[in-house]
Symmetry: C2
Subunit: 343 residues, 2 copies
Amino acid sequence: MRAALMYGAGDVRIETVDNPTITEPTDAIVRITAGCICGSDLWPYASRPASVEGSRMGHEFVGVITELGSAVTSLAVGDFVIAPFVASCGSCDFCSEGLQTSCRNGAHWGGSADGGQGEMARVPQADGTLVKVPAGFDVALLPSLLALSDVMATGYHAAAKARIVPGQWVTVIGDGAVGLCAVISAKLMGAGRIILMGRHESRTNLGREFGATDVVPERGEAGIKKMRELTNGDGTHVVLEAVGLAPALEMAIGAVRDGGTISRVGAPQFSTVPLGFGEFMRNITLTGGVAPARAYIDELLPLVLDGSINPGKVFDRTITLDEVPAGYAAMAAREALKVLVRP
Amino acid sequence: MRAALMYGAGDVRIETVDNPTITEPTDAIVRITAGCICGSDLWPYASRPASVEGSRMGHEFVGVITELGSAVTSLAVGDFVIAPFVASCGSCDFCSEGLQTSCRNGAHWGGSADGGQGEMARVPQADGTLVKVPAGFDVALLPSLLALSDVMATGYHAAAKARIVPGQWVTVIGDGAVGLCAVISAKLMGAGRIILMGRHESRTNLGREFGATDVVPERGEAGIKKMRELTNGDGTHVVLEAVGLAPALEMAIGAVRDGGTISRVGAPQFSTVPLGFGEFMRNITLTGGVAPARAYIDELLPLVLDGSINPGKVFDRTITLDEVPAGYAAMAAREALKVLVRP
């Protein structure tokens, strides 16, 4: 089969690799219907050192089961499934707690394992990992179903960890796919006001469509000043941080109200956070982390199927597998918000 | 009247100062029955630059109202009251949210204002600040009533912000007065196991009396290793950090289970916390902050009055006002856990 490999910063190639096979009785083989490129793929695309062997890429996909290991009980060949961005057993204590990203038997896509940017993938722990989509769904829902594998679940994780109370004011920092899905999530949870901080107009317009009531394009101190003007000088009870860079987290600290919560789902590109004495006196909480997407799909899937939410709108470009290298370049140049790959 | 002033590191003096007077109609004057020295007083005692004018000290006291401003409605002369360590109006939005430390009309003790280490104090915002103790209480409860002004409420804040669920395993870092009160609080909330990390045996013995099920005297990596051995290698869902030094927070990060919460109430003596990519992948939450003691006194006072909790046991020495300088020295040398002052 064919798949994308990254050989270093800016160097993504489509190559022929071995077809996946069942290696554990708990495995499934999925023929990928749609995958995508993630904002987090742009970090290695910007900075990974060159390597000889290359790494398989992609961690979000939906597709059809073509083969099952002997121990898989809840799935059948032909099922259309969503693969969350981490594989998990579904039965350990962490999975039971809804923290599938810390699963004791979990696995990650890509690297030397199959990735979502390819024609097929071996799925470990298929019973725990995959979520079956009821047959007969409208094919137009495909992008939104794909969004459940990562960005929608990640935005929802931000909101869930912040424990948004209906009526609360929420700031979302970042107008990327995850930030926009955080807007959807804040609205789902009844936020009274949603201030989206982002400067790409086409994206913030989509954010307004998703439920943002205000948009602040300024950044840094100017952004904090502007959002504080919108909030009686106080900031908001909840700030969802969907960028992962230090300036975004600093902006979150400036935007959060005393006693409030910053929930971060942007993978941190820094090692410390400035939560010292001043933030202690303000009783600021920092929560969030990598999203256990699997924990939320059962809850979000019906909302996609009945049209209540449409996170698939974050995909603004669809490409073939051969176009994946160009897709990385387009996302890195911010020409595309999020690229859907149809292998 | 006489009161304690700090003129710099290691330099505490008892001097005669002006008697307090009503300056706002919302004020009360309290004759202090008991005050104390706080662990947080030891930070300036260790490092404050020398000054000419000196600062009034102490932020925890109980006493009897001797005079009231014309606008005070809920209190009477002769009432025995608990003064939380921050004054608050009781009616602004932050007070309504239970975050009296961010009160829009609040005030702090000490500095150029009256402090708790003295004979009397002017209390701003008396209606919002003071909590009346029903007349006729057993005088033996005095230390526990005093503990509600800060350390017990602070330990409780740690546990409350961590939202301990009955049965959860909790680690408490620090065997000072606040750490020991955090043990009481974790037990009140139904913690299934309480691991106290501290190395002063007399204190950890009191911690066991308060409900600690395990004591880990080791610190740093050795402490983390030991507590992880006690918890199947995983750490605990909740860690209450009651020290405020960087190594204690690092130990908290090592002791918390994936998906867990560190709740800090030790005033941070550092400006950044090491919550980078690794902790993001583990979904670690950092919460806590300065305790809005006023928010908890209504709930904790009945438990003191009926003997359900006895936080006053953290006071292991009682001194007069003249002995306050020696009291600081004893606490700084760790010869006394917490010193009660009877002016």
